[in-house]
């Protein structure tokens, strides 16, 4: 019986692994509902759905999503037929030619996306200038170039999907069709293509997702246009804001809904195949139907969205604002007092240090100085004025850019009625 705990080990490992897999996503999802201007879980300020609203008004992001959808559809339409052709070709050639062709076909997956993006850009640029084409032609069009670049390697992904399906194809089916008088084209259309249909579906989904999420190639080929990922990347690089978390929440929710419907459909299929479908109980049949499940989930999402849209977090946000101001004021007070005490010894040195550090803090930058907003009071050790270490303590400047979106605060002014008299109505930084 000494094996008891050892047997639990694999489960423990799996649990840890899935925690690693989902932890970051869950935390990110939570930050989408925190009203704090910086994506974080603690300190929790207020439950808000405002970041989703902000998302819907982001014209740049919406334009990027629009472009991504166009590119995604284009990639599916080109990459899937190419992948199918490549897989069929591979299935017909002899073993030696097959090996070398396979190497050629698989290469685009291994070539770094950056290199593919670059080479696509250069090639079409060269071709365009050789043909004397103007800058408004296809050769310089970001959407076209991105489709070309992405198809290069996404075609290889779809080829892999088709190869695994084609391995299970019984070639005697084609022979049977030919034997019964079908032309090779008829055999292809009526026998092979229907067999490949599910793979065509999954290859299309895979190609679309791969296109939507591609960054490395797109960032080069997109030129002056923007896509979902490039907009997202510049947002992430130049400013952290929970509305990005909101994007992730939407994607994860969509994925979960799709996955649930898929799983229900799959179970139904296997049960139908084994003849276990509860046909005699109509109610059960309805509930187990994928369309019903999809509708149920859609209703759920709709309800959450509606609740979110009607949720008013302004009261809570005002209170948090006040708390912060109170803390700031207290800190300011303490600083002044300390400065007064220290004034004879080190005139104005601490003050200039603190002010400097606060001003240097750029929004969203994660330079050490950025630690300031995290722990307004915690990191502050009263009395110690070591120049560098004390920098985060400089309170006023630190709060200015990121956490208190001035517009947001102003827009929710109705809540201001509850504000104690001592507070100035303007929510801006001091």
């Amino acid at each position: 019986m000494t094996r008891g705990p050892a047997i639990l080990l694999p489960f423990l490992y799996l649990a840890l692994f899935f925690a690693y897999l989902f932890g970051p996503l869950i935390i990110m999802a939570i930050t989408a509902f925190n009203s704090a201007g910086f994506p974080r879980v603690s300190p929790w300020e207020c439950l808000t759905f405002g970041w989703f609203g902000k998302l819907a008004q982001d014209a740049r992001l919406l334009e990027g999503i629009g472009n991504s959808l166009i590119i995604g559809v284009g990639v599916v339409l080109i990459a899937v037929p190419i992948g199918l052709a490549a897989a069929l070709t591979l299935s017909q050639v002899g073993p030696r030619l097959r090996a070398s062709l396979y190497t050629v076909f698989i290469a685009p997956i291994l070539v770094p996306g950056v290199v593919i993006g670059l080479s696509t850009l250069i090639f079409w640029d060269r071709l365009g200038s050789a043909l004397g084409a103007g800058y408004d032609t296809l050769f310089y069009d970001g959407i076209f170039l991105t489709i070309a670049g992405q198809v290069t390697f996404i075609a290889a992904y779809s080829m892999l999907v088709f190869l695994s399906r084609i391995q299970r194809f019984d070639p005697t089916l084609t022979e049977a069709a030919l034997d019964m008088g079908a032309t090779p084209t008829q055999a292809f259309v009526k026998v092979l293509l229907p067999f490949m249909a599910p793979a065509i579906g999954s290859a299309a989904v895979l190609a679309f997702l791969a296109s939507m999420e591609n960054y490395n190639t797109t960032v080069f080929t997109v030129v002056a246009e923007s896509t979902f990922t490039t907009v997202l990347a510049s947002k992430v690089r130049y400013g952290l804001d929970p509305s990005i978390s909101a994007v992730a929440v939407i994607i994860v929710a969509g994925t979960l809904v799709a996955a649930t419907v898929f799983e229900v459909a799959k179970r139904r299929q296997t049960r139908a195949a084994s003849g276990l479908l509860a046909l005699d109980r109509p109610a059960l049949k309805l509930i187990a139907h994928p369309v019903f499940v999809a509708a149920l989930l859609a209703a759920l999402v709709g309800w959450v969205a509606w609740t979110g849209a009607n949720h008013d977090s302004s009261v809570c946000e005002m209170r948090v604002l006040e708390d912060k101001r109170a803390v700031q004021e207290r800190l300011e007070q303490e600083r002044r007092e300390r400065l007064r005490e220290l004034a004879p010894a080190a005139p104005s040195q601490g003050g200039s240090q603190g002010g400097g550090a606060g001003g240097a803090f750029a929004p969203g930058s994660l330079a050490p100085g950025g630690a300031a907003p995290a722990a307004p009071g915690g990191a502050f050790a009263p009395g110690s004025l070591v120049p560098g270490g004390a920098a985060p303590a400089s309170p006023g400047g630190a709060f200015a850019p990121g956490s208190l979106t001035p517009g947001g605060g102003a827009a929710k002014q109705p809540g201001g009625a509850f504000a104690p008299a001592g507070l100035a109505p303007s929510a801006g930084s001091d």
Partner: protein, 365 residues
């Protein structure tokens, strides 16, 4: 209208490997003809040549007098039933059956009508809307036949179509296949490694080994008068006794088979008749031809029963005769009850129930 099929010295080579070696025969229109042989003997290759999936390396295949070289499988008057049946899994049974008509541009209503007729023929009326996966093995078998018949071919080629079925169903399908063949009056060319199938169904059988056709004849001829050691040892069970010819008369030779007494064995007009005294030979005696007999009877061989294999209706006795192993099959009745293991007996056989052949390659067990 039936057409003869002539194989005119057909050979197929894959690199150095000779899959079919000079096959030469004519199959009459309306005949149920089987190619019988162990796996790898070239029978499937020969079938693929007839159906058009394989071009012979040399030789000619004529169907109804017409040379088939260069004519693809979709243009030949043949229909092939594949070993795995090759029913299209995504189409309904009716669509499967009507597929040959569909690719010929026959309109939907006619197709459906023809499919229903054929379903009637194979005794599966009203099952047209099912998927092949919903049918039993035997039903799928019949659908494959119906689909092949839908083209109205002159020749139906069957590539071991019963091998996936269990024993009972297989025996049932043998009768059914034969009945369908009689009913539609087509030429059936049947490939099998199962001699029971070949012998029970066929008008004629061609036994093949290593790419060569060893013997062509009806079931009785192949079983009773094998012309080569391979045929004698492959078709049915046989005791093979190597030895030497002592003397020969018209139709009967006396052989020294290493047993206490010489034995008399019929040669008929077969290859055994050419063996001169002193020549090496192989004698074959079927287990069911051996019988217990008196010590002074013709071809009496003293032996002891080494062991018994009991099979219900029959008892297979393994005998030790002067160090040689002989198998004898007895009907399980009151007369055979005496011969238990260990008992000493004499066994014999009528000269024309055995045969003498020149030595040659034998089928491996």
């Amino acid at each position: 209208m039936t057409k003869d099929i002539t194989l005119d010295y057909v050979s197929v080579q894959f690199g150095d490997y000779v899959a079919v070696d000079g096959a030469h025969l004519t199959i009459q229109g309306g005949e149920f003809f089987s190619f019988l042989g162990p796996s790898g003997c070239g029978k499937t290759t020969l079938l693929r040549c007839i159906s058009g999936f394989q071009e012979p390396t040399s030789g000619q295949i004529r169907i109804g007098g017409k040379d088939m070289r260069g004519i693809g499988p979709n243009k030949r008057p043949t229909a092939l039933i594949f070993q795995n049946l090759a029913l299209f899994p995504l189409m309904s049974v009716a669509d499967n059956i009507a597929f040959p008509l569909e690719v010929r541009g026959v309109d939907r209503r006619t197709r459906r009508k023809r499919a229903d007729e054929l379903l009637e023929l194979i005794a599966l009326p009203g099952q047209g809307d099912k998927k092949p996966s919903e049918l039993s093995g035997g039903q799928r078998q019949r659908v494959a036949i119906a689909r092949a018949l839908a083209v109205e071919p002159d020749i139906l080629l069957l590539d071991e179509p019963l091998s996936a079925l269990d024993l009972k169903l297989r025996q049932h399908m043998r009768r059914e296949l034969r009945a369908i063949q009689k009913q539609v009056g087509l030429t059936f060319i049947y490939i099998t490694h199962d001699q029971g199938e070949a012998l029970t169904m066929s008008d004629r059988v061609a036994v093949m080994s290593r790419g060569r056709i060893e013997q062509v004849g009806d079931a009785r001829a192949v079983y009773d008068q094998p012309r080569t050691a391979f045929v004698a040892s492959f078709v049915g069970e046989n005791n093979a006794l190597p030895g030497r010819v002592i003397s020969r008369e018209a139709g009967v030779s006396t052989l020294d088979l290493g047993l206490p007494a010489p034995l008399r064995v019929a040669t008929g007009a077969g290859p055994g008749a050419k063996l001169a005294p002193g020549a090496e030979c192989l004698a074959f005696v079927r287990p069911e031809a051996l019988r217990p007999c008196a010590p002074d009877a013709t071809n009496a061989i003293p032996a002891t029963v080494a062991r018994e294999e009991f099979e219900g209706a029959q008892r297979h006795l393994v005998l030790d005769a002067a160090g040689r192993e002989l198998r004898m099959t007895l009907v399980n009745d009151d007369r055979s009850a005496a011969f238990g293991p260990g008992s000493a007996i004499h066994v014999g056989f009528a000269p024309d129930m055995a045969c003498a052949l020149p030595p040659g390659e034998m089928a491996s067990a």
